[in-house]
Each structure stands twice: as C-alpha cells, then as structure tokens.
C-alpha cells in the first residue's frame, strides 16, 4: 500500500494480494480517520459479495464468492465508527471477461494487480450503533454540539 494526502483527501494505492477492507481499515486506524467516503478503481482477483435478505423483520446475509479477475465498475463506500473502531460500508459493481456485471455489498476482496482509492475525510466522527432487531449497524448522523445548539435556538 502507498498513499498521499491531498488537502482533505487521501489517495491510496493497494497492491497485489492485499485484502481491501482489512488494508483500508488499518489505514484509517493509523490516520485516525473516523468519518468519510471513498471511491475506487482497479481489479480484484477474488471477491465476496453479500446480499442481505429480509427474513421475518431482520436481515440475513447471504454471500457469494466470485473468482476474478474482475474489473471494478463502481466501488463506493462510507467510513464511520462502531464501538469507537472505524468501519467501512461499501457497495460494488464488478464486470467479468464477458462484460457481465455483479453487484452487492462488499464483504471482502483480494486486489490484483492494483486498486486506486480516493478517500474524502469528514471533519468529525460519524457513529453507527448495532440494532439487534434489524441485525444491522445503523448509521446515526448527529449535529455537532455547537450546530445542535444553533438549531435549537432557531425560532
């Protein structure tokens, strides 16, 4: 992995064999990034996609393993924290050699030969909380304390 900071963005290159979520998560921890969004370009050697099926009011994950090489057509993700640890939520569409596409929640992916990632950092922590009923870590955007006060004072 190799990276550079450009203003409030980081540009990161992942290399052959690196697991995308694990590698990015380690990068976020090292740089104390607690909120943001990212997009990526590149190729996966192997990819695990997840589809969440609603079953009796909660969501049950079903996974599929795809063998590459798979060209990333779109990889969009967000960054937040769960129990004070950064977590990634990313959805991906990939294309195969026959130009067919597969889409879903990114469960894991092995890079090969490269994945280029542009991360935009947001200025304060964004939290998730585990919801046991839905079986989902729910995003919980909240106003900054000073902003909340300002909105409170709004006539």
């Amino acid at each position: 992995m190799q990276y550079e900071q450009l203003g409030d963005h980081y540009v990161v290159r992942l290399d052959e064999g690196e697991e995308v979520l694990w590698t990015l998560r380690r990068f976020l921890v090292e740089h104390d990034i607690l909120a943001g969004r990212f997009m990526a370009w590149g190729t996966f050697r192997g990819l695990r996609l997840q589809h969440n099926r609603p079953v009796a009011g909660r969501y049950e994950p079903r996974v599929v393993d795809l063998e590459g090489p798979l060209e990333v057509a779109s990889l969009l993700g967000n960054i937040s924290t769960l129990d004070d640890e950064p977590v990634l939520h990313a959805h991906v569409t990939v294309g195969d050699a026959a130009w067919r596409t597969y889409s879903g929640h990114l469960a894991s992916g092995t890079v090969g030969p490269t994945l280029e990632v542009v991360v935009k950092v947001l200025p304060r922590a964004l939290h998730r909380f585990w919801n046991d009923r839905l079986h989902v870590a729910v995003l919980d955007p909240e106003e900054a304390p000073e902003e909340a006060e300002r909105l409170e004072a709004w006539p």
């Binding site: 190799q2 990276y3 550079e4 450009l6 203003g7 963005h9 540009v11 990161v12 290159r13 997009m39 370009w41 190729t43 050697r45 090489p69 060209e71 990333v72 057509a73 779109s74 969009l76 569409t93 990939v94 294309g95 195969d96 050699a97 130009w99 596409t101 090969g112 030969p113 490269t114 280029e116 542009v118």
Partner: protein
C-alpha cells in the same frame, strides 16, 4: 462543451458527438487540473470498454455501437508523461436494461454528458510499468525521487 466553477468543483456539460476522454483531457489542460476525481451522468451512442487481464498483462476491448445509458461513471485524474490523464470505469445499460461494465477507453456522447469534477491540491503521478504495461498510480512519491527516476512532472499553477 460548457463548464463553470462551483466552489472547489467544476460542473461540465458535454454535447452530442463529443468524445469523452479527449474532451475531458482538453478541459483538464485548460484549467491546469493535475489531480482529482469526477462523477458523470448521461448517455453514449458509441462506447469502447476494456477489461484488464492480469495474467496476460493486456487489455481486451469491445466496442458497443448502440445507445447506452450510464448507470455509473467514476474517474480519477493524475499526471502521466507531463499531462493530466483520466482513469475511469463505468457501467452502462442498454434498451433492455442489461448492463455492461469495464474500463472506459472511448465514448461518443449522445445527447449529453454531465460531469462533476473535484480537483485535488498537490501532485499525483502515474508511472508506466515495464512489466505489466500499466500506468501505475504512485501516491506519496517525493518530487526529488520523481526527478531522479526521470518522471516528467505536470506543471502546477
């Protein structure tokens, strides 16, 4: 093509018949944008996609001579051989809602393409790898190292 600046971003409109890669490159040179990324919406009358085969070290290409709607088009901008270069991937849908995905080689706009470009401050370079023939993105390489290995730098305004 028509464009304007909105805050730090640029909003562009490409018109019927324009070639997307060429038009964007011309815009980037005009505005001295050497690093950044973009998102686009619109449709193509002709599209050439590529798929990288890591084991062969070559791209395989396919040209679609039909009207295709862009489902997603994301690109990044870095400097290659002293000029801004775009790297974009996309998914496009046909009139039966089937989709095709890959690396963007060429696209002829019809009737329009809307592009939002976010420039990034600083330098971002690509260096052609002799082994894989890929123009590899090299974030975080110091300017003096780039000069030592003979990389032509983009001029930053």
């Amino acid at each position: 093509m028509q464009y304007a600046k909105y805050g730090a971003d640029y909003v562009l409109r490409l018109d019927e018949g324009e070639e997307v890669v060429e038009s964007l490159r011309r815009f980037l040179v005009d505005r001295d944008i050497m690093a950044g990324y973009f998102v686009a919406w619109g449709a193509f009358s002709r599209l050439k996609l590529a798929y990288y085969q890591p084991d062969v070290g070559e791209y395989k290409e396919r040209t679609f001579n039909q009207q295709l709607e862009i489902a997603s088009l994301l690109g990044n901008i870095a400097c290659l051989n002293g000029l801004p270069a775009i790297h974009a991937h996309l998914t496009a849908g046909d009139d039966e809602f089937r989709t095709y995905s890959g690396h963007l080689v060429e696209g002829t706009v019809r009737p329009m393409l809307e592009v939002f470009v976010t420039p990034l401050p600083g330098e971002l370079h690509r260096i052609r790898s002799a082994r894989t023939s890929l123009a590899v993105l090299e974030p975080g390489v110091a300017p003096e190292v780039l000069e030592t290995i003979g990389v032509e730098r983009c001029t930053i305004p």
